[in-house]
Symmetry: C2
Subunit: 194 residues, 2 copies
């Protein structure tokens, strides 16, 4: 069978992924994606029937990326609490993007959460994936079995908040500082048994 198409499809998803992040979902048009990908607009319908379908595939791809990232951390042979620290520290690598465009997940949920609830629900899965992983680490540490959900949600809150403010102020150093504070909080919290 003829399957050059899968490469083209992946190329479209990657292009759309960046544009959705940099411009927002509703502010990114079919024409934008087509031009940016170097693929004529008429060719799109062969791969995706609607813009929503593109976003759904973008989300699936993001989920895969994060799952890979989390799996890589698990293979590092760290203690659960150190896995959490590792994950959060690694976010600092994205500080430039966060300060310029916000969180790729949070910003799209904020956008879609107003009027496009079906798409929002799908995007939300990425946040849940991360929070569940954090929660699982807290449980594995043995010290926070009943508070794992609260603790992991609190981390999500502070990460999202740090990104929103860093984006609003266009100040990446403020993101770094808030993350460092969060790491200190974890050091204290992780040493307290419940």
């Amino acid at each position: 069978m003829y399957n050059k198409g899968t490469a083209t499809r992946t190329h479209i998803i990657n292009t759309a992924n960046n544009l959705f992040y940099h411009q927002g979902f509703n502010q990114t048009s079919f024409t934008d994606i087509a031009q940016s990908a170097g693929i004529p607009k008429g060719n799109f319908y062969h791969y995706f029937k609607t813009k929503e379908e593109i976003l759904e595939d973008v989300i699936q791809q993001r989920i895969k990326n994060i799952e890979n990232q989390l799996n890589n951390i698990e293979e590092l042979n760290l203690q659960p609490a150190d896995r959490i620290r590792f994950f959060i520290s690694a976010l600092k690598n994205n500080k430039n993007g966060f300060a310029q465009y916000g969180c790729p997940v949070g910003s799209i949920i904020t956008e879609l959460g107003k009027t496009q609830l079906a798409l929002k629900t799908k995007s939300k899965m990425i946040l849940e994936l991360i929070q569940n992983w954090l929660s699982s680490q807290f449980q594995q540490s043995g010290k926070h079995k009943t508070t794992a959900n609260t603790l992991s949600r609190h981390i999500m809150v502070r990460i999202q908040g740090a990104i929103v403010i860093a984006h609003a102020y266009e100040d990446k150093s403020c993101f770094t500082e808030e993350i460092n504070q969060l790491l200190e909080w974890i050091d204290k919290e992780a040493s307290n048994a419940e």
Copy 2:
């Protein structure tokens, strides 16, 4: 002079304010505002030449509202630290709106921060207004003169984060819990001199 117009103008701003919050700026059309306000589209040009101009006036009105709110707190004859607690506690009154539509300021900054930087800069002034007020309260308390900016920014981070997550999960109780945690943190932090 004939000035029924000022009432109409205010009515347009109020209508647009709600729609921008509930639908987002770019997802709200002139037609939406016109229909929702019960004013023919052609009449708009008499008051606003562009949609941007409407947003600018919406922001000005929001700034006034928040300034009034902060002034009212100042008149309550509370200690600075209690003024901060009062302001943060009062946010819980908006939990339903936060869970359904996110933060009216944060969500519009996130949206405009991607491609409409001039409008974002104006929206950002609302966040700065609040943070400066918080910072001023910390300084007046006498205990946190050099760390007032860091402390106030941290509060902004946690408020914005709590709203983003409450909105993502459509869970207002999670907002309340995070705010209560924040209040506890302030109790501890405010009692520590620097």
